[in-house]
């Protein structure tokens, strides 16, 4: 990515974060108004303080931009070195895993994560990959219910299939 575009993207991200924070604190204040006095007092103070602090941060950013402050992007930032597939893998791995966990349960989601994430990161040793994936998931499948007393969820689709095929015990 060219340097100028990188700085622009970084600044856009910076102002989006400030906007998000400002919106959050405004919502804290706005939704507090319907509450009884004792329940809204602290939210009003915290929300108000948050709004002021966020505005100060925004003003500071604008001031820095006006005076043409030196490079804002840290050259050691791994994002500057990562190509877009790796960036997408980094940002989307957790949400994709969460979605699979919810839909198909822990085992399927874990196997998918263990097999796909290394491949997307360019890991070449597929035999080692499959072995690690199977051992890790099998270990967790044993440890969770028997040692930690945590039943692993089968997911929305998994539960539907189990009910449909009448596979549920008892």
């Amino acid at each position: 990515m060219p340097s100028d575009a990188r700085v622009t993207a970084y600044r856009l991200e910076e102002f989006s974060l400030i906007a998000l924070l400002l919106l959050f604190f405004i919502a804290i204040v706005a939704f507090a108004y319907t509450l009884p006095f004792d329940a809204r007092l602290f939210p009003l103070i915290i929300g108000g303080a948050g709004i002021v602090l966020t505005l100060v941060i925004a003003l500071e950013q604008v001031r820095r931009r006006r005076v043409g402050a030196a490079a804002v992007v840290d050259e050691d930032d791994p994002v500057t070195r990562a190509d877009w597939p790796r960036y997408a893998t980094a940002l989307l791995s957790a949400p994709a895993f969460g979605l699979l966990f919810w839909l198909f349960g822990f085992i399927v989601a874990s196997l998918a994560a263990m097999l796909l994430i290394p491949l997307l990161m360019g890991y070449a040793n597929r035999r080692q990959l499959v072995l690690t994936a199977v051992i890790t998931v099998a270990a967790l499948a044993v440890v969770a219910p028997y040692l930690l007393n945590v039943e692993l969820p089968q997911g929305v689709v998994g539960d539907w299939l189990i009910d449909k095929l009448a596979l549920r015990a008892g």
């Binding site: 948050g50 791994p78 070195r81 980094a90 895993f97 994560a113 360019g122 990959l129 930690l148």
Partner: protein
């Protein structure tokens, strides 16, 4: 007193108690290493198994889990920059850079040395100061508690990475998030929007998993390679252990910070961890080395959280007021055994109390030995390829988020905070201020309202009581001091 010590030692040195302590320590070390699954979770899971035990065995096993988890929590902080325990989060600031330099063993040796020394001091304080300190804590009014919560936030925000204003904004964000759920004063629903999940507020575990584990995972995936950039391990464990005692001032200072904060209910080991780190940084001759692998940056948080755990039991055992999750679970265990926490416990069950104290002392030594034996194996993690480790960590951490309450929503909350944390961190917002705000939120609001109720809604109560006024003045000085110093031309090294 001497009779009590002998009585306690005799009770704690029985083979049965010893076995329960070993079991508890190993479980604690293990869960401490797993991000998201901390000591309180393991203690809560094992509480049903303590019904059939005698009271001392039950208490010693549960307390050993807590001690082991405090030791184990530092392992992932150092090796992966992912705290296994919230109370080990600040250890990552310097532990992880050391691991990146291939000095993971030295870092863990430092952690073990500081933890052992501080835990022993913490237990000794617990033994000898229970009565008098509990009386002193009783004198703290809600106005002082509120002032202390604000002081905790201010210190962390001022000393954290990035600007103070961003730190304070993150503190406000943490406090604001803690407002979600049923309000503790009137029972009014706040910011729940009809979601049952939000009634109890945002659970602390998924937020921690997201902010620390997922955020770090994203960075790890972007980086690739191995955690130890050199791909090999240098330095020795015993060298690190010995090095701990080359920094006696940091060790004593941080142990004192942790021990003091432990005695105040609600502050807890996590806040002590960060406060000790910032205090050590401010008093160091080389503050610019903090965050780059400074030994004092490991000694301070580890000493404080390990001295905090025993002293947090002082208000719990003497007054029945739990200082945090660990002491709350121990109180539940005491109650389940048919005992009543409070001053009478010391006179009616001296064998139990002193056996428990001596057991904690022995447990600290045991945890250090087991930790040192296991460290060489833990250290190998830093030379494993990130491509293999990242997905493994992803599934373990999100499983930890799920296992806490067996709630799928916790997984999504962890992911949300992970993504938010990544962008916040990238833009210089100190996540730790957010976490401290979240931890202290309930305490701050509760004591704020109590102070107002007691004073008949007179807001001057916070500034007219000498102690709370002094604490607020200290907050103001902390916020204004860097600016004043700059104007006076004594800039010096910027504190990171």
């Amino acid at each position: 007193m001497f009779d009590h010590l002998i009585l306690g030692l005799t009770a704690a040195l029985q083979a049965k108690q010893f076995l329960f302590m070993i079991a508890g320590t190993v479980i604690g070390l293990w869960v401490g290493v797993l991000p998201g699954l901390g000591g309180p979770v393991a203690m809560a899971i094992l509480i049903p198994f303590t019904f059939s035990m005698d009271p001392l065995s039950a208490l010693l096993m549960l307390a050993s889990i807590s001690v082991g988890a405090a030791f184990g929590g530092s392992v992932t902080s150092i090796l992966l920059n992912i705290p296994g325990e919230a109370s080990s989060a600040a250890t990552a600031y310097d532990g992880y850079p050391m691991a990146q330099q291939g000095k993971a063993k030295v870092a863990m040796g430092l952690s073990a040395g500081a933890s052992l020394a501080a835990a022993i001091v913490g237990v000794l304080i617990l033994m000898f100061a229970s009565g008098p300190v509990a009386k002193a804590a009783l004198a703290f009014s809600p106005a002082e508690y509120f002032a202390l919560a604000i002081l905790g936030l201010t210190v962390v925000s001022v000393a954290a990475l990035g600007s103070t204003i961003k730190g304070l904004a993150m503190g406000a964000l943490g406090l604001a998030i803690s407002l979600i759920g049923i309000d503790s004063i009137l029972g009014a629903e706040r910011y729940t929007f009809g979601f049952v999940y939000l009634l109890d507020g945002i659970s602390f575990v998924p937020v921690m998993v997201g902010l620390f584990a997922i955020t770090e995972l994203i960075s790890m995936i972007l980086e690739g390679g191995t955690i130890a950039k050199a791909g090999k391990l240098e330095g020795s464990l015993w060298g690190g252990f010995r090095d701990t005692f080359r920094y006696p001032f940091t060790l004593i200072q941080s142990t004192a910070v942790g021990a003091f904060l432990g005695m105040i209910p609600g502050i807890g080991a996590t806040a002590a961890n960060f406060l000790a780190y910032s205090v050590a940084q401010r008093s160091s001759k080389h503050p610019e080395q903090f965050g780059k692998g400074a030994p004092e940056g490991i000694i301070a948080p580890e000493a404080s959280n390990n001295s905090c755990i025993p002293t947090s039991l002082i208000p719990a055992l003497t007054l029945g007021i739990p200082g945090g999750a660990t002491s709350a679970i121990l109180l539940v265990a005491v109650t389940l055994q048919g005992l009543r926490p409070g001053p009478m416990l010391f006179t009616s069950n001296p064998e139990l109390i002193w056996g428990f104290f001596m057991g904690l002392l022995i447990g600290a030594v045991m945890a250090t030995i087991l930790y040192l034996i296991m460290i060489p194996w833990f250290a190998l993690i830093t030379i494993v390829r990130i491509e293999l480790m990242a997905p493994m960590l992803l599934i373990v951490t999100l499983f930890g988020a799920y296992a806490n309450e067996r709630n799928m929503m916790d997984v999504f909350v962890a992911i949300f905070f992970g993504l938010l944390g990544y962008f916040l961190r990238r833009h210089g917002y100190p996540l730790i201020s957010l976490v401290i705000g979240l931890i202290l939120g309930k305490l701050a609001e509760g004591s704020f309202h109590q102070a107002l109720m007691i004073s008949d809604h007179d807001y001057s109560v916070f500034f007219l009581r000498p102690l709370s006024a002094s604490i607020f003045a200290l907050c103001l000085v902390l916020v204004l001091w860097p600016g004043v110093k700059k104007r006076l031309g004594h800039g010096g090294a910027e504190v990171t």
